[in-house]
């Protein structure tokens, strides 16, 4: 024992204060348990709140306003062009994060949850040591919710850059809006790269994007992605798919980047200079520096901790949730798992038996899907029928000028049970909630069709798509037979 070391005893220890961890801690306290929450950052809220969902969506919203103001010229709005005060924008994003994060802190304090700031590592199956707080916590149950962190670019690519601060932006830095660079290269065509890339394009940067795969947003159905790619091609200076960055060197006012088309290795790479470079090449679970080996837990090849349907690891009193566990790395999946783990610890019959985890991409326009995707159905050989409804046929979409996109509903051919919904277009992120409820409830097409959807709203598009899947929509031309 080190001098001054604190020792705490608790029933439930939660490691990580992100959406998974803080939800678990609060829920456990509400169920009457003794809880300790360890988080290495000063703020609670995890990646989601401090450098992920919240700041990105705040920024994207602001950029969207500018875009709308631009579009609105067609509707008679008169202005001399829109521009941003970067300092104000940055402060607005920071303030939003701060308000929410202190909100989470007060919720935690309100439950008298013991909160420790520091980095936790397991010492044995019932003990962690919290580095930075010089504290030992003995626990009966633990919930690992340490989330994920960004993948660094390969050392090979980075070798010409200074050690320490290489000057390459991470998504967290980009979301701090330090400046509006003249030009920006986004490395990675996943949703984080696309969201931030489109945001900076909206702020006025000349944005290029490079993606190793042939397709952008590889998890989503191609027809959904197509709509967004069309916008990217218009708003970005260049989109290089099937290409990779092989070297980055510092130059005055920025970076010189070498890229290669991956299909033919022989070809000499091409070079281009950018004021800024953003690395958005994926994330990996924070399971490397946790002392998992000391408790006999071995992460899989991707670094994920194995769990069962109640989020329990092979060490029965230890649970893992959120980005460190299997499944989509999304905040709402983390928080649901947090509740499940706690309920199971408290002896309730709970399970992560969700049929659908909605995915939302705040691209322009938004993409969202839930349940079965068409790509999945094809791969797993699941029979389905599909109904698509284009937003061009929707009154509300016309009235707002947001006619890009469509809604599609996948259903079982015989029973009409809804299997999945894919949406691209304005408000996709909101519409997908109803679709998810429908799937969880085991709804059939008719359930959506006979439910009255308010007019004129975007929500009608889901009902119309269900009609298309069933027998055709009133608002579509009949196919000639």
């Amino acid at each position: 024992m080190v001098v001054g070391e604190m020792i705490l005893e608790t029933d439930i220890l939660v490691i990580g204060g992100g959406p998974g961890g803080y939800t678990a801690a609060i829920h456990a306290a509400d169920l009457g348990r003794d809880v300790v929450l360890v988080e290495s950052r000063k703020q609670l809220g995890g990646v989601c709140l401090t450098e992920g969902c919240i700041p990105s969506k705040t920024l994207i919203h602001a950029v969207g306003l500018a875009r709308n103001a631009d579009d609105a010229r067609r509707m008679g709005l008169v202005h001399d062009g829109i521009s941003f005060d970067v300092d104000k924008l940055r402060r607005h994003v920071q303030k939003t994060v701060k308000v929410l994060s202190s909100g989470v802190s007060s919720l935690v304090e309100n439950r008298e949850i013991e909160r420790i700031t520091g980095h936790a590592r397991f010492q044995d199956k019932n003990t962690v040591y919290v580095d930075g707080a010089n504290t030992i916590v003995h626990f009966n149950h633990a919930i690992i919710a340490t989330g994920s962190e960004i993948n660094a670019l390969p050392a090979e690519v980075m070798k010409n850059l200074p050690d320490g601060d290489s000057g390459i932006w991470t998504s967290a830095q980009a979301l701090g809006v330090p400046e509006i660079p003249e030009s920006l290269l986004v490395i990675g065509g996943g949703y984080i790269g696309l969201e931030i890339g489109q945001a900076y394009a909206g702020l006025g940067s000349r944005v290029s994007l490079v993606e190793f795969n042939e397709a952008l947003l590889s998890g989503a159905d191609k027809d959904l992605v197509r709509v967004v790619v069309t916008h990217c091609e218009r708003d970005f200076e260049a989109v290089h798919t099937g290409a990779k960055v092989t070297a980055i060197e510092p130059v005055e006012d920025g970076f010189r980047v070498t890229m290669e088309k991956s299909e033919d290795e022989s070809q000499e790479g091409f070079q281009q200079e950018f004021t800024r470079v953003l690395a958005a090449t994926g994330r990996h679970p924070n399971t490397r520096d946790l002392g998992l080996d000391l408790i006999g837990l071995e992460p899989d090849a991707k670094g994920l901790i194995p769990t069962d349907e109640v989020c329990r690891t092979p060490v029965p009193h230890i649970f893992a949730i959120g980005d460190v566990a299997k499944g989509p790395a999304l905040a709402h999946k983390a928080s649901r798992e947090g509740k499940v783990a706690v309920e199971v610890i408290c002896g309730k019959s709970s399970a992560f038996d969700n049929v659908a985890v909605p995915a939302v991409l705040f691209t322009h326009p938004e993409i969202a899907w839930t349940g079965l995707t068409e790509a999945d159905a094809k791969e797993k050989n699941i029979a389905y029928k599909v109904g698509k409804f284009p937003l061009t046929a929707l009154g509300r979409a016309r009235s707002t000028g947001k006619t890009d996109g469509f809604v599609k509903v996948l259903a079982e051919p015989e029973s009409d049970v809804i299997l999945g919904v894919g949406i691209v277009g304005e408000h996709a992120s909101e519409l997908v909630a109803e679709a998810t409820l429908a799937i969880e409830m085991g709804a059939c097409l008719e359930d959506l069709i006979v439910t009255i959807h308010p007019h004129p709203t975007f929500s009608e598009s889901l009902m119309e798509a269900a009609e298309m899947a069933s027998h055709g929509s009133v608002h579509m031309m009949k196919a000639s037979s």
Binding site: K378, I382, A383, Y384, E414, S415, G442, D447
Partner: protein, 450 residues
């Protein structure tokens, strides 16, 4: 290839017994051709084919119990390709996969739900876990096979897991859940002193065994529960129906003339002959308004007596399938002739096995005249959750001492009112029967009340 799942047969019905196939494997059927006869707890129904095509599998045999929602017929409708167009690519992909199923059944197309998908609302899934039920084993009665909380309750009772230990070779019985074991299970009536359930000793002579199925099983469950759970009291009386019988017979003669004139029978225009039951039913419907405790139910969960303000009178009908209780809805609001017509119409449907579920449900009071076959008084068991039942004996001529101490030959109807002593007392029963007696013995009383 179309997998036909046993469709919803009516509210609260989760299974049916297959009586007979009308088709065989290899037969060509048109849409709506009858496939089979099914018997449910409530009625026999003909299941029509939903598709035209060739029967490629029949997954049950007569006598089997089939769960609603389970695939029991596979029809090759040739249009597996309709859906297949979209998934031609996938099928190519699946060709490369090793063949999983061997021939015994036609290979179902790729119609399975995404793996592990349970069709039930999240709250229902939680309930299943709380009840310790593996929800994937429960067949859903909702649209598309959705599992409802009711299905879970029913599963707990009737489908409490197949008990095949007794005859392991009988594979057909393996997926049947509701065979006689529901009654064979040790009775859980703990806490009742002296109550003991005896096993059956080895019989001393030749026997034939018959499982409790469908209707028989239903009757057994209902009667056991009702007679054990309700304190029954019987109140008996004799009703002099000489006058009403004379008038009834005269009326029927006139009706016979009309029918001979070739007029079609309808409820309004030419309702046909009246039975004594119609008179009794009208009198009961009228009397119940003054004695609501006999038109009531006990709500055990809230410990309340539920008095019903509607008068749906059921009557026991002996049918080739067994006892059924068709219900004359709103008997109080129909004319005497209307009630008479409904009784004959429903009895006919029940006899021919054509009666539908709504015609067998919703009763608030039951009359049984099984006694009419023979015997004097009957002692009927209350048709739960109702609170009373009226049993009619056989009308017989008897010597009766009348007003001036003379003995006259009168037609006498013996009646028994059995009631639930929790909701009513003997004095009320006596008064109610007295009231019925007044109406049926006194023509003016009857006319002024109904």
């Amino acid at each position: 290839m179309f997998e036909f799942k046993l469709p919803d047969l009516g509210e609260g019905i989760h299974e049916g017994e297959l009586l007979q196939w009308h088709v065989a494997v290899g037969d060509t059927v048109k849409e709506d051709d009858p496939l089979c006869e099914m018997e449910t707890d409530k009625a026999a129904v003909t299941i029509p084919s939903p598709r035209a095509g060739v029967i490629s599998a029949l997954n049950a045999s007569p006598g089997d119990t089939v769960d609603v929602g389970s695939v029991f017929v596979v029809i090759d409708d040739g249009s597996g390709d309709a859906a297949a167009k979209e998934k031609a690519a996938q099928e190519e992909a699946s060709d490369t996969a090793p063949q999983e199923k061997n021939a015994s059944r036609p290979d179902p197309p790729s119609e399975q739900r995404p793996k592990g998908r349970v069709l039930a609302a999240p709250a229902t899934r939680r309930l299943a876990r709380e009840m310790g039920i593996d929800i994937t084993q429960v067949s859903g009665s909702g649209p598309g096979g959705r599992v409802t909380p009711e299905d879970l309750n029913a599963y707990d009772g009737a489908d409490a897991g197949p008990d095949t230990a007794e005859n392991p070779e009988d594979t057909a019985a393996e997926d049947r859940a509701s065979e006689p074991k529901a009654v064979a299970e040790p009775l859980e009536v703990s806490g009742i002193p002296f109550l003991e359930v005896q096993g059956l000793a080895t019989p001393d002579g030749p026997v034939e065994r018959e499982p409790f199925r469908s209707l028989r099983n239903k009757v057994a469950v209902k009667m056991t529960s009702s007679s054990i759970l309700m304190p029954h009291v019987a109140h008996m009386d004799d009703i002099d129906v000489t006058d009403i019988e004379a008038q009834r017979l005269a009326y029927n003669l006139r009706q016979a003339d009309k029918s001979d004139a070739g007029r079609e029978e309808t409820a309004e225009k030419n309702p046909g002959k009246l039975t004594l039951l119609a008179f009794v039913m009208k009198a009961v419907a009228a009397g119940l308004k003054d004695y609501p405790m006999f038109n009531a139910s006990v709500d055990l969960s809230s410990r309340e007596i539920v008095y019903k303000k509607y008068y749906n009178i059921g009557f026991a009908a002996d049918t080739p399938r067994g006892l059924m209780v068709p219900v004359v809805h709103d008997a109080d609001r129909q004319s005497l002739a209307g009630v008479g017509y409904r009784i004959r119409h429903l009895a006919g449907l029940a006899r021919n096995g054509e009666i539908s579920v709504p015609e067998l449900t919703g009763g608030t009071f039951t009359i049984t005249n099984v006694g009419a076959i023979g015997g004097t008084h009957v002692f009927p068991i209350i048709n739960a959750p109702e609170s009373a039942i009226l049993g009619l004996g056989r009308v017989e001529k008897r010597p009766v001492v009348v007003g001036d101490d003379k003995i006259r030959v009168r037609k006498i109807l013996p009646v028994t009112l059995c009631f639930d002593h929790r909701v009513a007392d003997g004095a009320q029963a006596a008064a109610f029967v007295r009231d019925l007696k007044d109406m049926l013995e006194n023509r003016l009383e009857f006319m002024s009340r109904i």
